[in-house]
């Protein structure tokens, strides 16, 4: 089972991302479970969203304590809490940043496998707004292979209608531009 935790802020679309990815995995024939950190979320406040993907029916109904992946939509969140604190040793951090892998490691001390992409820039260019949730899915897929890139098309179309095309482009762009650095011992 693959357990992924999204870190974002209320309004950035972490929950939407999780839902889209869950639907894509299910449409690939897998089982998935996507859910928000339940509660009265307010715009701007740090939020979590959770995703489980497995080949079998998922019976767990608790939070993800030790994720395989943490995805960080907003790098300013790292200053508040360390999203990598409970990440499995073989896990991966997927980060939205304009910095290089080396600079990121230097700044935050991450030892895990690390994937970075400047999703803000891609989102601004492609979508015209700095909303990075769908863009970051490209980075996540690049780093984990959780689903196929093509599997995202249908869920995005259903969710965004005419706006889906741009989101798909943003996702693909991020998939191509994401840089992955292996874990440091």
């Amino acid at each position: 089972m693959l357990e992924i935790r999204f870190h974002g802020r209320g309004g950035q679309g972490a929950v939407t991302s999780v839902e889209l990815l869950a639907v894509a995995a299910i449409e690939e024939g897998k089982f998935a479970q996507g859910f928000p950190s339940f509660g009265p979320e307010r715009r701007g406040a740090p939020v979590l969203a959770f995703l489980r993907i497995d080949d079998h029916h998922i019976r767990l109904r608790c939070k993800i304590a030790n994720p395989d992946v943490v995805l960080i939509l907003d790098p300013s969140l790292i200053r508040i809490q360390n999203p990598a604190a409970d990440l499995k040793p073989e896990g991966v951090i997927v980060l939205n940043t304009n910095k290089s892998i080396a600079d990121t490691r230097r700044e935050f001390g991450f030892k895990h496998r690390l994937a970075v992409v400047d999703a803000n820039q891609i989102a601004r260019q492609v979508l015209g707004v700095p909303i990075t949730n769908t863009t970051m899915l490209g980075a996540l897929i690049r780093a984990t292979g959780a689903v196929k890139v093509d599997s995202m098309t249908q869920p995005l179309k259903e969710r965004f209608g005419p706006m889906a095309v741009k989101n798909i482009t943003a996702l693909q762009t991020a998939f191509e531009k994401t840089v992955v650095g292996e874990a440091k011992s």
């Binding site: 998935a32 339940f38 608790c62």
Partner: protein
């Protein structure tokens, strides 16, 4: 026959209501029921569901409005949670006394105070004696299936009883997961249009809701009690029919690796599947632990439950509500009471878990089993425990 799809369970429930061709809905928003009614109102607004949706000004009015709708002959649905169910409380009894087949989803949530929007069963346990059929579901598939089936059960001319589907708030309602949907054709064959036995019709005027003097009140209650207990057979029949159509067969008491298990965990709702994982791990380690999941809460399945529990040595009942100052939390109280007449009966211990959204993992269940075994060996220290409380 249907298709597999990933969606939020609340949306699946609203699709089930749509497939059942509900005609009249009255609801008031309350977390975590909101996604269900949001989707239903958008279906009505888009013409995807030919129904009337009334945005009432309170849950009290929601159920009252549903009573009017159902009494006038419409297939009626509503959903609520927690404080909303509590605000309906008075009217819950009247809906069943009038024998109106309203279907209601309760997104189970803690009752204030302190205010908590998160999941446990204290809302429905405060309403266990309302005279409705009450069913608990474990996952999205079950929530979907049982919503469709509830209409058929409730509207059966021999049943005519309002029916509640209990689904855990957030940890079920707000989760996107894989489910097998069914086609409209199948539902239409399964669920015929609602033919009310009596309605508010000027051509055949009736009086509904007359008051009862002491000479007759108990007879009216007896009539209701017998009807509710008799609904059991119809419920089973409907579940069997659904099982044949979909391959998904449900039972009032579900057993998981319970044969020959000396120790049985007993749960209700979607923590049952979490407990399954604990049971798998415990059995793998050679421990004789199985799981019983109580699906049908009203009418209470005495015979099946006794059958399922009678050969165990220890039954660990995991309640999700407190009965402050009471003899036992609600499920433990009923299970003990059901077992009492047996000459040989297992020991019953109670652990209250997952209150107000507290996370429950397989580890929790394993700990509870260990605690209960100790307690059983040394003799119970207290009537029941609130598991995991600090201090």
């Amino acid at each position: 026959m249907g298709h597999r799809a990933g969606m939020e369970v609340s949306i699946a429930v609203s699709h089930a209501v749509q497939l059942a061709r509900a005609e009249a809905i009255a609801a008031y928003p309350i977390t975590p029921q909101t996604h269900i009614v949001e989707h239903l109102s958008s279906m009505v607004a888009n013409g995807d569901l030919e129904a009337e949706f009334v945005n009432v000004e309170s849950e009290h009015s929601a159920l009252s409005c549903c009573i009017g709708m159902s009494a006038a002959g419409a297939r009626t649905y509503t959903a609520t949670s927690s404080q909303g169910l509590a605000l309906m409380h008075e009217i819950l009894f009247i809906a069943s006394a009038l024998r109106l087949p309203i279907v209601m989803t309760v997104a189970n949530r803690a009752l204030s105070g302190p205010l908590s929007i998160w999941n446990d069963h204290s809302d429905i346990m405060a309403a266990k004696d309302i005279g409705w059929i009450q069913i608990f579901v474990e996952n999205g598939q079950e929530a979907f299936d049982h919503t469709v089936m509830a209409f058929k059960i409730a509207e059966n001319s021999k049943v005519l009883m309002p029916t509640i589907i209990n689904m855990d708030g957030f940890i079920l309602t707000h989760v996107v997961e894989a489910m097998n949907m069914v086609d409209q054709d199948l539902v239409d064959k399964f669920l015929p249009p609602y033919l009310p036995r009596h309605t508010l019709d000027p051509k055949y005027p009736v009086t509904m809701g007359a008051f009862a003097m002491p000479e007759i009140f108990a007879e009216v209650k007896m009539n209701h009690q017998v009807a509710l207990m008799n609904s059991y057979e119809r419920i089973i029949k409907v579940w069997e029919e659904w099982g044949k159509l979909t391959g998904r067969q449900y039972h009032p008491v579900e057993r998981y690796k319970a044969n020959d298990a000396k120790i049985l965990l007993l749960t209700m709702g979607c923590l049952g599947e979490v407990a399954e994982i604990a049971v798998d791990e415990l059995q793998a380690a050679g421990e004789p632990v199985g799981l019983i999941k109580l699906r049908l809460w009203r009418p209470f399945p005495f015979a099946e439950l006794r059958d399922a529990l009678r050969n165990a040595e220890l039954v660990i009942v995991c309640d999700r509500a407190v009965s402050p100052g009471g003899a036992a939390p609600p499920v433990l109280a009923e299970v003990r009471s059901a077992l009492y007449p047996l000459s040989q009966r297992p020991e019953t211990l109670g652990y209250i878990i997952g209150l107000g959204g507290r996370d429950v993992s397989p580890v929790s269940f394993k700990e509870i089993v260990a605690l209960a075994r100790d307690e059983s060996a040394q003799g119970p220290k207290q009537e029941y425990h609130l598991y995991g409380v600090r201090g």
